[in-house]
Symmetry: C2
Subunit: 341 residues, 2 copies
Amino acid sequence: MLIIDCHGHYTTAPPGLQRFRDAQLKRIANATLPEPVMPRISDEEIRESIDNNQLRLQRERGADVTLFSPRASAMAHHLGDEAVSSAWTRACNDLVKRVVDLYPENFVGVCQLPQSPEVPIAHSIGELERCVRELGFVGCNLNPDPSGGHWTAPPLTDRHWYPFYEKMVELDVPAMVHVSSSCNPNFHATGAHYINADTTAFMQFIEGNLFTDFPTLRFVIPHGGGAVPYHWGRYRGLADMLKRPPLREHVMKNVFFDTCVYHQPGIDLLAKVIDVDNILFGSEMVGAVRGIDPETGHYFDDTRRYIDALPLEPRDKQRIFESNARRVFPRLDAILRAQGR
Amino acid sequence: MLIIDCHGHYTTAPPGLQRFRDAQLKRIANATLPEPVMPRISDEEIRESIDNNQLRLQRERGADVTLFSPRASAMAHHLGDEAVSSAWTRACNDLVKRVVDLYPENFVGVCQLPQSPEVPIAHSIGELERCVRELGFVGCNLNPDPSGGHWTAPPLTDRHWYPFYEKMVELDVPAMVHVSSSCNPNFHATGAHYINADTTAFMQFIEGNLFTDFPTLRFVIPHGGGAVPYHWGRYRGLADMLKRPPLREHVMKNVFFDTCVYHQPGIDLLAKVIDVDNILFGSEMVGAVRGIDPETGHYFDDTRRYIDALPLEPRDKQRIFESNARRVFPRLDAILRAQGR
């Protein structure tokens, strides 16, 4: 059985990337500054940034492959304009590609998108195509709130998003619904904005009819589905009150939750109420919560332990760890098959 | 043992109340219309609206007392201006007071506040004092987002809110953190905005130092604490990363969760990870989710059944059903004692 971690970000990128970003942000404030150029980053620097972080933890925790995307909190689509977002996104995706090329058995690429507030999502299609067709990436992170906490974009079920969904369907790649940092002081990024976005997206899918229009469109809602599994009765009841079909038919053929829930009782609940076919192993390691849980002595984000402890049959765990991810990300499956795995 | 439901709204008010509201909203659109007058509503109408709804369900489900406040989704602080919010709030609170007077053993009042976007919260102190001192109410519902889904107010830990907190402390009344309807199409009110607000408030309390400044200030976070118990490991870990004290000391002396979680696995999780002293029985009956769960044959919001099924000692259930509410709402305790209960 392969252990596929569907949720990893390059949070440890070499400092050159941040220098480039800092120069971008300075230029937003002062347009007379020159357009920044991405500093040269050596393979050695990339190896250093990975070997003692994600790669070490993969080995220690016994994971085989991580779906790897640029740092989510740094996407910050609300900073600067479309050109800034576009240049930043290319730089981030290109760096992930270099990680994948250095460690082709350990990492598979998932791309950031050059979203920008008020800019049509169709403008993100080019980068998706580049990343999938040229760089070999297998999915993307779609930000439902490029404004960074002001929620000015239309709901994910709005036709605004349809041109992008058409391309996702054509390329057969899913999106993880993932917001970035928050410029609204009400929302702590990883403690409120992320979880709220997960919950919000799910409720939008209940209200809408998106999967009637796109029967093969697939989304991963990270962080264990936000508040949804804990309030599963509420969502079943709301679907009923809103005269929607049962969630199993209406949403859960197309929506999947990862296991980025950082304690055993949360994972127990997830596995109890959500069909095992809708759960993908994920850890977001070296991410939002990096410490050791004093109650267990293990890292909060070592989510493999929680899955291992579930009272499930081996074949169900195999779904969570491997086969669901291969089904939701067919291009990942193709890469693994080509590697003989 | 008394069964105290800490979370009930007057969702079934006689139609006269809505006629008044409609006239208010028409006048917002056309300022030449006369100031609306609240229609006379008879005791008979009030009895009709209660007897076959909240009172019947209290009896069927075996609850004794409900903390009763105006309909939360109808507060809609974002509609109209301060004068509109103020007149609407008085009308709603006065009607709750009439319910309490007709059924003094079954209902105890909790007030809506005349909040309005961009208006200082100090302007809500007068209505809080009126409701507590003159009408005998025991708490209030505080809306952290009077903009209705645009989140333009400062976080609850900001000094903006302090004048109101000072009055809460002086009167010894807690607030339930409760948003209202959403005018942001991203957020379904009861399916996203409510739950997001619960999660957001909790994270604000982690980030801030509010309870150092107000050691006796108390909040009930409804809907089982939003996403928080499901992600309890995440919040413990974030508190640690942010160098805050452990949650038990930093937040949980002052913050309580109700049991408005509409399925057994959710309540099981809540009782497993949250100290029993921080859990207050609540149902929000005749509220967000009114249907029957096809999986159990019982109403989703009949939360008493879920508590009854918990593997807890009777003394712990007594805390959830009664003594925690009496401790968090001392004025409720005083009313019950005066009734010999």
